[in-house]
Every structure is written in C-alpha cells, then in structure tokens.
C-alpha cells in the first residue's frame, strides 16, 4: 500500500495555505510533518483524511484493495480534540468507536493497558487529566486496525514516559506494515522522513 501526494496544495477559507507539497509513503514508513505555526500542518492532515477538499495537485492511495478503497476508510484521524464524550466512561467511549469503525481487533481493556490506563476504564472520560485523555484517545487507534494513522500533535499533554510508550506503539505499527503521517513540533522519537512546511 502506498500513499502518494503530488504537488498538493491546500487552502483555508479561499486562501492558499501551502502548495506543491509532495511525498511518497510506503508500508512501514512514517512521515513527520514539521513547521512553524500556521504553516498548514493540520490543514495537510485534514486534506489527506478527506475532511477538506484537495485544492490542487493529487492525492491517492494505491493498493488498498477492497478493504480500503479510499484514504478515509484506511485511516485513523487523531485531531487536536480527542473525540470522546466527558459524560461517558472511557470504556463506553472506546467501545462506541470500536463498534462504529467496524469489527474491533483489540479488546478495549487490552488497548487501555497498552497506553497505561489499565483499571481506569470505568471512570467518566471527563474525570481524566489532560494527558490521560490524550492516552485514551490514542487507545482509540488500537482498538480498530487501520493501516494509516494521521496524527495531529499526538503527544500534546503527554509526559515523558507516555511519550516513550507512544513512540513504541508507533514503531510497532510501522513494523506491522502500517503508515504514519504525524504533524508535530515536538520530537516524536520515531524514525521517519521529515517534511518541512512553510519554507
């Protein structure tokens, strides 16, 4: 499976944010998108996910087969927000996303153990700290298998230990043939090509 972008341009509210961005991402590879604030990192991720239209150039996913005909069906999108409901417990939140995204591949409890939240699943999501919330959102990436992870500032709010644990999870995902596109201005601790925006 390959994710290819050629001469990609993005705009927000009719104004061009970036243009002529290109990359070619194969299985097991990671792309770290860096750049100053406002250089279009988040816009790029949203365009890849299909939440914003491609303004120019083209973007395609090759070899997804029948299971993953488009980028949207092949990706997990982790945005700035965690997409979890404060009124529901962590387990209820994760169980919903697992069911909504198709057949679960990893148990909810197991995924929580992986991000270091084992035993906290019964708590309402709203009771968790910022870092714990981010970790619960990361657990969402694990319950359903998707070959492509689109991560927007994934480590915002995480402490050193959690950062290292998340780097391990990302490495394992790449090792299993997954792909990662991560926008960040913090070092993520993974090997990957770097795409600098805004220069």
């Amino acid at each position: 499976m390959r994710l290819i972008a050629e001469n990609l341009g993005g705009e927000r509210g009719g104004e061009s944010v970036f243009s002529r961005v290109g990359f070619d991402l194969g299985e097991g590879q990671a792309l770290v998108v860096t750049g100053p604030n406002g250089s279009g990192k988040s816009t790029l991720l949203r365009i890849i996910a299909g939440l914003l239209p491609v303004a120019e150039g083209r973007l395609l996913l090759e070899g997804g087969g029948e299971a993953f005909p488009s980028v949207a069906s092949a990706c997990h999108y982790l945005g700035h927000q965690n997409a979890m409901k404060p009124a529901l417990s962590v387990v209820e939140n994760l169980r919903f996303w697992r069911d909504f995204n198709g057949n679960g591949d990893v148990g909810v409890e197991e995924a929580l153990e992986e991000v270091g939240l084992g035993g906290l699943g019964h708590l309402p999501f709203g009771y968790l700290s910022t870092g714990q919330r981010r970790r619960a959102a990361i657990a969402k990436l694990l319950v359903n298998h998707r070959p492509l992870w689109l991560l927007d500032e994934p480590t915002a709010g995480l402490d050193k230990v959690s950062e290292a644990r998340f780097a391990g999870l990302m490495e394992r995902h790449c090792g299993d043939g997954g792909m990662i596109v991560a926008a960040t201005h913090l070092p993520l601790g993974i090997d990957g090509a770097e795409l600098r925006m805004g220069i």
């Binding site: 949203r46 999108y77 945005g79 927000q81 997409a83 409901k85």
Partner: protein, 237 residues
Amino acid sequence: MAGRPEGGALAMASHIMLALFLRDIRLNIRAGGGALTGVIFFLAVIATIPFGVGPDLKLLARIGPAILWIGALLSCLLGLDRLFQADREDGSLDLLVLGNDRHMLALTVLVKCLAHWAGSVLPLVVAAPLLGLFMNMEPLAIGATALTLLVGTPAITFIGAAGAAVAVALPRGGLLISVLVLPLTIPVLIFGVSASYGATANPEPFLQPFLILAALTLFLAVLGPVSAALALRHGTD
C-alpha cells in the same frame, strides 16, 4: 460505501447504527440532556395559556389541540442546536464524517435524529395527554392529538437536523436554527392540527390529513438526513 459485497453487511450496519443510537440516548439521559428541558418548557407554555385566554372552558377545549401542537413544536426546536454541535466541539463529528466511506453519512444522521427524537421529543408526546387536561380537552381529542404528535414530531426533528447541520459552525446557532426551520415545519403543524380537529369535529375528516402527516414524516426522513449530511460534509473546516 455501504453495501459492499460482504456477507452480513446489513447486520454489520445495523450493529454500528445501534451503537450510535445507544450512545446518543445515553448522552441525552446522562448529561442532563434535552429531555427534561423540553418537557419543562412545554409545560410552561401550556400552563400559561389558560391564564392568558381566561376561564372560558369551551374556548380552551376548542383551541386545545392547536396549542398543544404549537407548544410541542417550539419545545422540539429548543434542543436542536446541540444535535451536531456537541459532536463538533469534541471532534467526534470529524470521525463521524470520515465514517462516510463505510456507511453513508445520511444514515448516521438519520440514526442521530432518531436518538434525538427518542430522547428529547418522545417525552413531549408522553406529556401531551397530561397537559391536554389543562386545556379541558375531551379524552378523544387528547388521544387524537397525542397520536398526531407521535406521528408528526419526527418530521420536525428531521427538518431540524438540516437546519442544525447548516448552523453547526456558529457558536450561538440556536435561534438561527429555529428561524431557518420554523417555516418548513408549518405544513407539519397544519396537517397535525387539522387531523387532531378531524377526530372530534364531525364534518371534518381525520384520516386524510393524518395520512398526509405520515407521508410528510416519511418524506422528510429521507430529505432531512440527506441534506443534513451534505451540509456537514461541506461544513468541515
């Protein structure tokens, strides 16, 4: 898209939609959601009418069905702005929209509407017979009004979903949604009220307006979610 040639695709879709329905119902109940607010507003509207109209019991009984319908309509509009906005604020809406590739977004919207209706509007229908007593309505008129509300209020939710989707990005879109949606709900109101009257006043028919009301609900069950899905699809930024 939905309908890939997998075995049990339908079972899968219904499993997914049930999960969404249950989540929205839970949120509605737990977060101090719309259910109670709507009923209390409905109660407030109906309880003030007799004070305004005066102690003319015959007049109250005559305008009863119309007042119940107007009260229910306004209470329906009350909680609509949260239909998609809550999901937008915490980022869930992006993921719901991305799910479009596996199951149509319109179906997701339809299920959200049904959950919203069951959680926030059904209590109004249940409360309507009790409030009918305030209006000195006969048992038959009360029954007919409750039945027309049961059949007609989903239509209001479906139109409201389209309005809520258009106004989802606005921080205080509640009033705008009401203004957008109100003109479109007028046919539902007209046929709902005329069917309610038809059940008691002899020369007027009950069945015809009632069937048109049911047809309106079915028609809007398609049009509302499809247009809401379109608006949401293009409203992501």
